[in-house]
């Protein structure tokens, strides 16, 4: 992951830490998360349930419910502005206007007693200086754009099917032409055929408006279909990230390997899948050293003691593992060898 402040980076997140505090217990939902995104790029954020994907998304928009959630530290640079330092008023101007979010379940993310037209024109009215009539007109255009007849603007959400509701949600998210779209498992609640339609639609609109997107999902297939870059999260950390080709074809981290092992392969004739053994660690009581080591097939004694730092190759392929270091990083390799020897002694 390229950490330099490129001017063409739309979004740069550095060392984001988010915790949930309840009854004196601190849950580290997101720790030391860094990522960057260029204009028009799509990043897939993959991880199991509870890995901190949604918290990351909410954190970027400063919507982590407080209490119990709290952003401890971190920088979120968006178009040169640090969102963590922005006032609440500034954030309201950004949400829905420059950064939009698509929620997981279209059944519950629409207001049941407002017509869909009103819900689309609401976001337009909030952010743009238009009359009511103009916003209604625009909301119909948005509906047409996502493949719903504009005449249905006066209908209520319950009169739409799940897939159409998600289209409406997409129309709301794109109504103000944001530069960044955060899609939190946008297809999880939909069945497979509708998933494909919605994904195609999102991809098409994203390309049309050159919108950058963070696609949160636990579906590796969806990522391969839509994303340019991918970041794998485990227990609140990004364990591997890079261009989609690098990660899929030159997988470094054992967790990512495990994820791929959990998908049936069409080419080989296998009776059983190879899932990752064990469960996600308790986020209030994370393992020492590498957070993945209790489940890792390649773990050595050192993994329980030393916390792996992210190692980045020249192409921007990052992996957070002590074992799978590429040869290009000999220096670090030496350090690790040394540590291994110390631990072994």
């Amino acid at each position: 992951m390229n950490k330099t402040h490129d001017t063409d980076n739309l979004l740069t997140v550095e060392d984001l830490n988010i915790v949930y505090e309840a009854d004196g217990e601190v849950t580290k939902a997101v720790s030391g998360l860094s990522l960057s995104l260029k204009k028009g790029e799509t990043l897939g954020l993959i991880g199991e349930t509870g890995a901190g994907k949604t918290t990351t998304a909410l954190g970027l928009m400063r919507l982590v419910p407080n209490p119990p959630g709290r952003v401890v530290s971190g920088k979120v640079m968006y178009e040169g502005q640090d969102l963590m330092q922005a006032t609440e008023d500034e954030m309201r101007g950004i949400r829905g206007n420059k950064i939009s979010m698509i929620f997981q379940d279209p059944m519950t993310s629409l207001n049941p007693v407002m017509t869909v037209g009103d819900q689309i024109s609401e976001v337009i009215m909030i952010h743009q200086d238009v009359t009511k009539a103009e916003s209604v007109e625009k909301s119909k255009e948005m509906l047409e754009l996502v493949g719903i007849p504009g005449a249905r603007a006066g209908d209520f959400p319950h009169q739409f099917s799940g897939g159409m509701k998600q289209r409406v949600v997409i129309a709301i998210a794109l109504a103000c032409n944001p530069n960044l779209l955060i899609a939190d498992e946008p297809t999880t609640a939909l069945d497979v055929t509708i998933q494909a339609q919605v994904l195609d639609l999102m991809k098409e609109l994203k390309d049309k408006y050159n919108t950058a997107m963070i696609m949160i999902t636990h579906d590796l297939g969806v990522v391969a279909q839509v994303c340019d870059k991918v970041a794998i999260m485990y227990a609140g950390e990004i364990v591997e990230s890079g261009a989609i080709r690098d990660v899929y074809e030159n997988t470094q981290h054992p967790y990512t390997k495990g994820l791929f092992g959990s998908i049936p392969n069409l080419d080989s004739d296998e009776d059983r899948l190879n899932p990752i053994k064990g469960l996600m660690p308790d986020p209030t009581n994370l393992p020492s050293g590498c957070r993945f080591h209790p489940r890792c097939p390649d773990a050595t004694a050192i993994c329980a003691k030393v916390k792996p730092e992210p190692v980045i190759t020249e192409s921007g392929h990052m992996s957070r593992c002590l074992n799978s270091l590429p040869a290009a990083l000999d220096e670090r390799q030496d350090d690790v060898q040394e540590l291994k020897m110390v631990a072994g002694a």
């Binding site: 829905g96 929620f103 049941p112 319950h158």
Partner: protein, 307 residues
């Protein structure tokens, strides 16, 4: 949402329906509400009765002249039974009971609707704020409400009216104050259940302010129980007005009011049943109609209950 408003909407929606057909999708939600309300025969019944009462109140001056018929005493005709001249008989001062009932409906409806509106607006906003923000603010608001609830409402109303003096404004004030806590509770409860739903989070994610979220997303979703409570509340306020007038703290004679008429006639119950019976029936039927309409509106206003 006052009952006056919903009543008006229900009444005007008849013309709206035809307008909607001419221009599709224009204000269609009220046409939709009217469409659903039309299916509910009991609610229509209530609406019809209320319409009659409202018309009587509005056109009272055309039906009976206030100075010469309603308050002018005519001792020669006192306590007469129902007849062609006096449709519902006369009271102890020989005044036409029918005419007095018509004029009395003005006070009842005015106090009922206005006092409920005041308490819905005040109680509703307190409850919405308490439910939405939670924490200390919620605690402070709801404990103050509990203090109000601890005093019997009619006693509180009596205390306020006797302290401030018996007139129409104080009467409405007294009745609305004592019902603020119950609206605050109803609204708070439904706000609590709506606050954590995903569409509220989605509204925050499009940059809506707290004020907008409460006004546009939370309140419309928590309206259904308030409407029912409000319809019952108008009925309760009419009863409370009648009650206060009955004990002499409400509307002062010779102004006609249903409760005051009941009070005036109670000494003659054995000889002249009509003096108390007709105002009593008027109270009963109006309250029944309000309850029927309230239930019907609750169903009709909820777009999730399809057909």
């Amino acid at each position: 949402m006052s009952n006056e408003m919903t009543l008006d909407k229900a009444q005007t929606s008849e013309t709206e329906v035809s307008a909607v057909r001419a221009a599709p999708k224009k204000r269609s939600q009220w046409a939709e509400v009217w469409h659903r309300l039309k299916r509910d025969k009991m609610a229509l019944c209530g609406l019809a009765i209320l319409t009659v009462v409202v018309f009587a109140a509005v056109f009272a001056d055309f039906i009976a002249d206030y100075e010469t018929v309603v308050i002018a005493q005519n001792l020669g005709d006192r306590l007469q039974g129902p007849s062609a001249q006096y449709w519902l008989g006369t009271d102890e001062f020989g005044r036409d009971i029918f005419a007095r009932m018509i004029h009395g409906s003005r006070v009842s409806l005015l106090v009922g609707v206005l006092s409920v509106s005041i308490s819905i607006v005040l109680g509703g906003s307190l409850g919405a704020v308490a439910g939405y923000y939670g924490g200390k603010l919620d605690n402070v608001i709801m404990r103050v409400m509990d203090v109000f609830l601890a005093v019997p409402s009619i006693l509180l109303a009596i205390a306020i009216v006797s302290a401030l003096g018996a007139n129409l404004i104080n009467l409405m004030f007294a009745i609305s104050i004592s019902s603020i806590p119950s609206y605050a509770r109803v609204v708070r409860a439904s706000v609590l259940s709506i606050r954590d739903q995903e569409f509220i989070e989605a509204a925050r994610a499009i940059g809506a302010s707290d004020f907008r979220i409460i006004l546009r997303h939370i309140i419309p979703n928590s309206l259904a129980p308030v409407i029912v409570q409000g319809a019952l509340g108008v009925a309760g306020a009419i009863l409370a007005t009648a009650g206060l007038s009955f004990i002499g703290l409400g509307i002062q004679p010779p102004e006609p009011e249903w409760g005051a008429m009941l009070a005036g006639g109670r000494q003659y119950l054995r000889h002249a049943w009509h003096v108390t019976t007709f105002p009593g029936l008027a109270i009963m039927i109006t309250i029944l109609a309000l309850n029927l309409l309230g239930d019907g509106l609750r169903d009709a206003l909820d777009p999730r209950l399809k057909h």
